[in-house]
């Protein structure tokens, strides 16, 4: 995704909560930490000098623990929260400079949102909830109904149109939230811990639905989570946030293989690396021995299974055009999953 165009660019964004945020700005720029600001000046540092390029048509995950500022960050993209200072550029427009009407149109047509606790309208049925965004856009009732019905079906809720949210399980409610967001046809989808309130099994289910839909929709998705497994699973790009600052950005592989500091290393040490590392990261110079041909983007875990099942003890790695570009032996695969020292190879990527 490294060479794709940027859809959302956040520049020099600061958010300070308190009575005199502007006054505190100089202090923060001068290096006052979040704790100092809190203890000595009674202001809370929400976000500090955020610079982030979010690629078009990809899933950008913003990961951080509670209090890291991730929910504050996503709310700046559609300006549910006003920044202290900064810029958010989307398609050549600065969201933070839009007037009220432009901003409303932007929210109606270009960015929709899915919420952690669903935020459905309890007095409306599934159908009426899904229609909500279209109704605000002013779409004719009949068209809106058809469009909503399509998305209800796509998220697997056909047959539940007339139910109220209170009658559905959490997972089903969030499907309604997803259908409501997708129905407006916005190309930016903001997901604020959208799956965090769900049971682990349902969460995996929802992740699959999202990934399946994304394969055909190619929306620009900003996904907030506190769960690294989730971040690695669905993210094309990950930004890790701590105390209101981005401390590392990169692909899932880069985060797992080259954690920038001990804080991130601590996060990543329990991760199943076989599900993150791709063959191209560990492959060696091609040889003539036989083996199944596997894509360079295939995950180590999947490859290990295929190689084990095949008669040979290695796989031939192919690129997009089908040419063999390298080989991986079964030992390489096992070593990769067992935390070998492969950082040096990543350099070559």
């Amino acid at each position: 995704m490294s060479n794709s165009e940027t859809k959302v660019e956040i520049k020099r964004l600061f958010k300070i909560f308190g009575d005199d945020p502007e006054g505190m700005l100089e202090k923060v720029r001068g290096g006052v930490s979040k704790d100092e600001l809190n203890d000595q000046y009674n202001h809370v540092l929400g976000l500090s000098d955020i610079n982030l390029k979010i690629p078009a048509k990809g899933i950008q995950v913003v990961m951080g623990l509670s209090g890291s500022g991730k929910s504050t960050l996503i709310r700046h993209i559609n300006r549910l929260i006003e920044p202290t200072v900064g810029e958010v550029w989307i398609d050549g427009e600065n969201v933070l400079e839009m007037d009220e009407k432009t901003l409303r149109d932007f929210r109606r047509n270009r960015a929709s949102m899915v919420f952690q606790r669903f935020a459905l309208l309890p007095h409306r049925t599934v159908m009426e909830n899904t229609i909500y965004g279209l109704e605000i856009q002013g779409m004719a009732e009949k068209d809106a109904g058809e469009q909503a019905a399509y998305w209800i079906e796509r998220v697997g809720l056909a047959g539940y149109e007339e139910n109220f949210p209170g009658q559905l399980s959490g997972g089903m409610q969030q499907r309604v939230g997803l259908a409501r967001a997708l129905a407006t046809d916005a190309d930016i989808l903001l997901m604020d811990e959208a799956f965090s309130a769900l049971d682990p099994l349902i969460r995996t289910d929802m992740q699959n639905i999202l990934l399946d839909l994304q394969q055909e929709l190619h929306k620009t998705i900003v996904f907030i989570t506190h769960d690294l497994e989730e971040a690695l699973r669905i993210g094309d790009q990950i930004a890790i946030l701590r105390d209101g600052q981005v401390i590392q950005q990169g692909t899932p592989q880069q985060i797992v293989l080259k954690p920038k500091d001990d804080y991130i290393a601590d996060f990543t040490k329990d991760i199943n690396r076989g599900r993150v590392i791709q063959l191209k990261t560990i492959m060696k110079v091609p040889n003539d021995k036989p083996g199944p041909e596997l894509s360079a983007e295939m995950l180590v875990e999947d490859a290990a299974q295929l190689v084990t099942e095949s008669p040979s003890s290695q796989a031939r790695v192919t690129n997009d055009t089908g040419d063999v570009v390298g080989v991986v032996g079964i030992n390489d695969l096992i070593r990769a999953m067992a935390r070998p020292d492969i950082e040096s190879r990543l350099e070559e990527l």
């Binding site: 929210r107 109606r108 929709s112 605000i136 209170g166 009658q167």
Partner: protein
């Protein structure tokens, strides 16, 4: 040490002049604007009289049937339906039908006024903390000031009759409507409101499609309270010429007619219970979508 035991009050003459000037000022106001104000309320009076005549002209079985049907629609409970029909029949049987119709008509008009005025005020209050800070003490005054005190200027301005009675009832009965509208809207889930914002809802779209619908159970509790309080005001309003069940009660007080007072008083109670059950069960049914949670 006189100043310690004697309160430093205004001189008797000054005090009299002070009161006199207020009285005179209000009298002048009445003389200048009284007629305009009266004609302003004329349509209201006509409507009230029309409604009262309509109710009196309605055959009694029809009225009982309508109330029973309303009870069924609102509550789906046979107990409410039978209870309402039976108590209405009993009221008529004991010779209080006409007074009851008068009272019902004034309660209906009063409730309409309270909702019509209270809802917008409540909405304004919920949208601005400053409005809330201004209106709340006024509501406190309206609820605590003895009714007789504001009956005086109302009567001075409009004389004795239905309209001043109506105004007195509205002053007394409107505060819960305003308070509960305000409360209901303020209690609407912040996350749902944020979602409305995120989808680009305008303030009006938010109010009409999210805030009011979600505040409806509270708003309905306000309507219910307003009805109850206007019924409670019926006796006092009858002192300034409002016809209905209050007048026999008043007569019974001055003549010590125990049975008369008791019967009419109980008729008011019966009406109150009918109105209450019907409006409350409707309010509850408005929340039915919150039920059925199977978690």
């Amino acid at each position: 040490m006189d100043w310690l035991t004697e309160f430093p009050e205004l001189g008797r003459r000054d005090l009299r002049d002070f009161r006199k000037s207020i009285d005179q000022g209000f009298k002048d106001f009445t003389r200048t604007y009284g007629e305009d104000i009266e004609s302003f309320f004329e349509p209201l009076l006509q409507f009230l009289i029309w409604l009262e005549k309509l109710l009196l002209a309605t055959p009694w079985p029809v009225f009982i049937l309508v109330v029973a049907a309303l009870g069924w629609v609102a509550s789906r409970s046979l107990k409410v339906v039978i209870g309402s029909a039976l108590s209405l029949f009993l009221i008529g049987f004991l010779g209080m039908w006409e007074d009851t119709m008068s009272t019902v008509s004034i309660i209906v008009v009063c409730t309409m006024l309270c909702v019509g005025l209270g809802l917008p005020v409540g909405i304004v209050m919920s949208r601005s903390d400053r409005a809330q800070a201004v209106v709340t003490p006024i509501l406190d005054i309206m609820q605590t000031i003895p009714s007789f005190v504001y009956l005086i200027p109302v009567v001075m301005l409009l004389g004795i009759g239905k309209v001043p009675g109506l105004i007195a009832v509205v002053i007394y009965a409107i505060p819960p409507m305003i308070r509960l509208t305000n409360l209901g809207i303020r209690l609407v889930d912040k996350e749902v409101l944020e979602a409305a914002d995120a989808f680009g809802a305008s303030p009006w779209q938010k109010l009409v499609r999210v805030q009011i619908p979600l505040a409806l159970p509270n708003i309905f509790a306000g309507v219910n309270q307003t009805i109850m309080m206007s019924l409670a005001m019926v006796v006092i309003a009858s002192m300034i010429g409002v016809t209905g069940l209050g007048q026999p009660v008043l007569k019974a007080i001055s003549n010590q007619y125990l049975a008369m007072g008791l019967l009419n008083g109980l008729a008011i109670v019966a009406l109150a219970i009918i109105f209450d059950r019907i409006s409350q069960s409707y309010g509850k049914r408005l929340q039915s979508h919150r039920g059925g949670h199977d978690e």
